[in-house]
Symmetry: C2
Subunit: 307 residues, 2 copies
């Protein structure tokens, strides 16, 4: 798996099909591994996808409908069975605390790992100690309390080896320069800006069960990779509205308005025998890289934007 | 599916593998459908096996380790989603009441079906209203409270059409004869025995996590079909004893001693890359029909014993 890659573990809404497991999504981001919305069977889908329990550093649950959260019980037990050596932060709507606790202690098992519950009480930044990014929750619109998640890497700088070499800077000096932003060399101050170019941070957004609302756009804004539910087609927009879901066209338009680069659609209703129409409908509204996810579809986070 | 058939939905112990889901077993018995030990992912395995939620009339959980019970949450939610019109009895160790309640209400869903909890407080017959068999629980030996289940069809009689015809008995008269055991005809008493032959009842036994103990033999006694865990091989008998499990040889010997006709082994440790040795080891100790279960293996209950 490359350094920043997304894999769909399951892509069905409500009930599984022969081809599609309940939801489950994994984002590998350098040393971090974020598991989103583990539905029933996620533990086994991880095996099929080559995702170990040890690679999970954080878990985000958008809402406590079963198809987005029943797999939490098995994933937590597996994290303990495998004696995952690092703490795992779990984000979920605070109003679902009772469900989180039931799933966390669903049956008897031996606790060996440190799980850090991080109930989300409202929109805003989330505690993510040690993470090389910020995590944010944004409120969505669904019959039960639902939050989408957004990962934002801060802008940084990319060092230029030839300039460092010309100034004779290496090893500890480079570390100091990166930390302090400047260093004294040959009687003058060398700044970080002289030996680097700005490196734009990347963004990932995860938008599950919601009808169209401001939160969708807020999450998607500037995302290099957006994973979003597209349960229905526009022809069934009344169902989408009634049940608190999106259509493929709505998801695609929101992505375009937000400047999304790679768009992954998922969470399909089993009423559609195939997804050709989802692809066609979304394509009409979105010009970038567009993927209609199957189970085990892998998508790389696209290369950094140019400046 | 034939009238009395068993299907293995999942056959892995502890953790799923690429080929084996967590546990899950379904027995179709005329109009009844008994689901045993639904591990995570059972809902989807049912789909692969062609078992609908509506076909479930009873659920039996042997014990509350996750690999035997986490799937209960999804199965219960599916029973409600599908608006199953008949009540579903759920049997489970009473000491695991707290786990049952957590799994039953693991997340928010709309309750439409009647679930009847039947906590098992000790060995003995179980309430099974309307069932054409008796159900019994027998205590097993495992680190947590564990009960095996046994289904016993009462002995009955098979009517002989030619004798009924010779006596001019038909329709309501036959019904009366079956209910009362006798009927007046042409000035004399005709007994049921005159117009029928005895029909031996059939037995099914389900033996999950346990080390060898009296309960194993008690459950298996006279079973036409025995489904039993065979987690380990005899070479690893110390592991079996330590963790409260059986070896293939132990399971096979118990089946032979109990006069079992068809033996299904399951619940295999993932330490074994294949199960050839399980088959060979069991074969040494059991002469009857022997099946090493794969996921979705189907086994018919054998024809009735001759008298």
């Amino acid at each position: 798996m490359s350094q920043r890659e997304f894999v769909a573990l399951g892509t069905a809404s409500q009930v599984p099909t022969r081809r599609r497991n309940h939801n489950g999504y994994f984002l590998r981001w350098d040393g971090e591994g974020l598991l989103f919305d583990p539905g029933e069977g996620t533990q086994r889908q991880m095996l099929h996808a080559g995702v170990s329990a040890t690679s999970i550093t954080r878990i985000g649950v958008t809402h406590f409908h079963g198809d987005h959260s029943l797999g939490l019980a098995g994933v937590i037990q597996r994290i303990n069975l495998d004696r995952v050596p690092h703490p795992v932060d779990v984000y979920y709507p605070a109003t679902g605390e009772v469900f989180f606790e039931r799933l966390r202690h669903a049956t008897a098992f031996h606790e060996t790992a440190e799980l850090r519950p991080r109930p989300v009480t409202g929109p805003g930044p989330l505690a993510a100690p040690g993470a090389p990014f910020t995590l944010e929750a944004v409120r969505l619109s669904h019959p039960v309390d639902s939050f989408g998640y957004r990962l934002v890497e801060p802008d940084g700088s990319r060092l230029l080896p030839e300039r460092l070499a010309a100034l004779g800077l290496r090893g500890p000096d480079v570390g100091l320069l990166q930390r302090e932003g400047r260093i004294e060399r040959d009687g003058r101050t060398v700044t970080l800006a002289e030996v680097s170019v700005p490196r734009p941070g990347q963004r990932f957004a995860f938008v599950m069960d919601t009808r169209l609302c401001d939160g969708v756009g807020e999450l998607a804004e500037g995302a290099d990779l957006l994973v979003i539910e597209a349960t229905f087609l526009d022809a069934d927009a009344h169902l989408a509205e009634d049940h608190g879901h999106l259509t493929a066209a709505q998801a695609a338009r929101a992505a375009t308005e937000a400047g999304v680069r790679t768009l992954v659609l998922t969470h399909f209703s089993q009423r559609y025998p195939d997804l050709d129409a989802h692809l066609a409908e979304a394509r009409k509204h979105f010009d970038g890289e567009l993927i209609v996810a199957e189970d085990l579809t892998r998508v790389s986070v696209p290369p950094r934007r140019d400046l």
